[in-house]
Symmetry: C2
Subunit: 473 residues, 2 copies
């Protein structure tokens, strides 16, 4: 990390922790230069960085002033969802596609996107390593790297688990085309048409689509925006429906951003073990925590091999490379066979490039910077939501990731907001695509993982105006 | 093509056409050098090449002699299969996996493999282009190259269709993780559990596994080793079972190597159109023809958008890259949605590298050389089968690809041959994995797409001895 980056980070941490308050003036460049023992140019660069991030504002001839607050935040949503307790077949996939396809263009402001900005990733370094790796690629890699996948990559993944305090042998890992394939393979490996699956409410729309495609039924379980699935409700559903699997996100759930505490993860794993129901754990955001350490996955508490832990590099390192994996527990062999039968294997050059990247180091440094950037962007974005959205809007405060969940006041219709925003070249993700049941008509998921600038600010103001207009109808 | 390669090719064509007979002596180096106007070194190099390919043998102090024959071949199988006419659910996928997993190691002689030798591909050039392409990769490629896929790649594919005389717009193409994913997506897009699908008998085991995974039923149709599916039988099955799809390989079918004549392809497409049944056409071997021109796919005769044409680069250019596609006719939109929901998209750097390769040219030159090599290897391999296998063994003579289908005489049990060969470090693909019904217990599929040398010859001799021993039980 460069000097100015370290300085900017220190200051932004003071802002995000509330030590610096909105309106506070940053020390002058001369003072900071003297106190930190760095050149004035370094201080300037740090202040510019903070300004570009939206954390401070320059006022002519007076210096830089803090512009966001860690305290003056919009209220949080604080009740769990209350879905109906039935198991039901789904029929919403086409509606989800209709909405998603409108957001898959780079000229649309991507508040509705599920991916952060590609500019946040070390693409040049990855390209150099891909280049090295592909030129050294053994012709027999197409045989050696066949499913379960490149041995060096699986070893590196196993090492990363070890550093987090988990024992996941390389042989338990199956490399996939992103986490989405991993999740689909899990469902295929353990459920047959007509079976039921426990899910969160609201849930990642990809899980709803997977359940629908495979002719399964979904049982939505009440889920709290702060700490995730309600375990008492989950137990009632297990007792009543005897589902074949539970599929959820323990860390920074999509769309709520909820983070299940360790104790609750342990209880979840025990509960499922009592019913011998496997857990499909989607942990694609786990690396994007803003706290001191990576939150453990539920997998860490699994002693029976019932947890299939799915993740990928698509959201924290290499979007477009399509490399993910599943640590499959007792289902590893079935997962590998499902993979062989569905896409055979994962791109050998991409696997090789990521293995080399992990071997060469730099991933943790990149992740530190990325987490810091996302935390700062969350503060700025949330501040802007507070300014532009009507009183009564509730906003989650996820401790990681890059997604906010908004509960809009009154009878605001998120689908109408989506349509109106899209007409202005802005995408948002409306609540109804995250649930087969009603209950989220007034909700929006917004992505703050893209560059914050005047254009983004204007776009968010536009969405805010659309919501205001809806309220006044 | 280098001078010596051109000379070697001319001579091998004379051998394969029968103009040169086994035992014929090649003209002396001096004579050929004079008559062709090339250096003696070039002639030597050409003769060495032919010797390495196994087409000629050097005898000390006497020169080079032709060692294979285009005429003295083992007899061909010449009757169509006669499967039962029922529609039936399948339960063979695990057995196929058990067998396949034994062959997925590079230290096993790969007669049972479905892939040709990776050494036949321009991997160094691909690596250079991948390197260029990934270093120039736009950060937004992960958005732009999303399904349906890289626009430049789809344009190049569209151009190749045009050159073959077909109009397939780039918008009709969905890029996939190899042809296997394309085929699976086709089935998902049009069939629901319990539906029936027409297939060949024997058929590519991947189609049987896909049908089983999706809970569909298969209707096996009699298929001839020379010209493919029996259309009269197909019509009876259409009438009786009203299947939701027909899935077959028109060009160099796996495992038979059969090639459906153009007229028959046209009739097939018309027949299916009469019943409004879509065709899932697997054409992964179409580029590997030994004749004058690429055989057309059935897609060329489709006027109603009922044919989904699937192919890939995995078997003719870039194994391990996992780039394939489907030209989906009226199903294109559904196919793209199935792709989005199952693996989201295909590796952006791999798509970019192949787009650049197709743009830069060289693919056709590579394919010419590859076809020529495979044709020569077929002749040599077939000659060796004739020498090492018992009288009465019947062997197909595919006009393309790299797979031979053997009908062994008497009560030889291909599964036992597989087990015994594997114990000697040699894989073969036994008939039963290609059919849910009995009828192929005495059949083997052998891959001649790997280097022919003393080691390979010894391995084939071992398989021949195992078959002989079985006969004498």
């Amino acid at each position: 990390m460069k000097l100015y980056e370290a300085l900017a980070r220190d200051i932004s941490e003071s802002i995000l922790s509330g030590a610096l308050q909105p309106g506070d003036r940053l020390p002058s460049v001369r003072k900071t230069s003297a106190s930190r023992g760095v050149s004035p140019a370094t201080v300037f660069e740090a202040y510019y960085t903070l300004e570009a991030q939206g954390l401070v504002q320059a006022r002519e001839r007076s210096g830089y002033f803090v512009s966001v607050s860690a305290e003056r935040l919009p209220p949080e949503p604080d009740t769990a969802s209350r879905p109906a307790e039935d198991a039901q077949p789904l029929a919403m996939s086409e509606r989800v596609f209709d909405l998603l396809e409108t957001t898959m263009r780079r000229d649309v402001v991507p508040f509705g996107s599920a991916f952060p900005s590609p500019l946040l990733f070390p693409l040049a370094r990855l390209a150099r390593l891909m280049s090295t790796s592909v030129q050294q690629l053994d012709p027999w890699a197409s045989v050696d790297d066949l499913t379960p996948g490149n041995a060096r990559l699986r070893r590196q993944l196993s090492l990363r688990y070890l550093i987090e305090g988990m024992t996941v042998h390389a042989d338990e890992i199956v490399v996939t085309n992103g986490a989405l394939e991993a999740l689909n393979l899990c469902l295929m490996a353990i459920a047959r048409p007509g079976d039921a699956v426990l899910i969160e409410s609201p849930a990642f729309y990809g899980s709803l689509q997977a359940i629908e495609r495979q002719g399964l039924e979904a049982i939505a379980v009440p889920t709290h925006p702060r700490d995730g699935m309600d375990l008492a409700a989950a137990e009632r559903a297990l007792e009543r429906h005897r589902p074949k699997a539970c599929w959820l996100m323990t860390n920074f759930q999509n769309p709520l951003g909820s983070l299940m505490p360790d104790e609750k993860k342990r209880d979840l794993v025990r509960l499922l073990a009592r019913y011998q129901v496997p857990l499909i754990e989607d942990d694609v955001f786990g690396e994007l925590y803003f706290g001191d350490k990576r939150p453990l996955p539920a997998k860490a508490f699994d002693t029976e091999g019932l947890v299939m832990h799915c993740s990928s590099f698509s959201k924290c390192l290499a979007p477009g490379y399509r490399v993910g994996w599943v640590a499959g527990g007792r289902y590893t062999r079935q997962l590998a066979r499902q993979k062989l039968a569905s896409t055979l294997t994962t791109c050998a050059p991409a696997q090789g490039a990521l293995a080399l990247y992990l071997e060469k180091g730099g991933y943790d440094r990149h992740l530190r910077l990325l987490r810091h950037t996302l935390a700062a962007q969350q503060a700025v974005f949330m501040e802007a939501v507070r300014r532009h959205f009507p009183e009564g809007t509730r906003v989650t405060r996820p401790k990681g990731g890059y997604l906010l969940w908004l509960e809009l006041p009154g009878a605001v219709d998120a689908l109408a907001v989506h349509a109106a925003a899209l007409a202005e070249g802005i995408s948002v993700a409306p609540g109804p695509i995250f649930s087969p049941q009603p209950g989220f008509e007034n909700c929006l998921r917004l992505n703050y993982g893209h560059q914050w600038d005047a254009h983004a600010e204007a776009a968010l103001a536009t969405v805010g105006r659309i919501v205001h207009a809806q309220l006044q109808r």
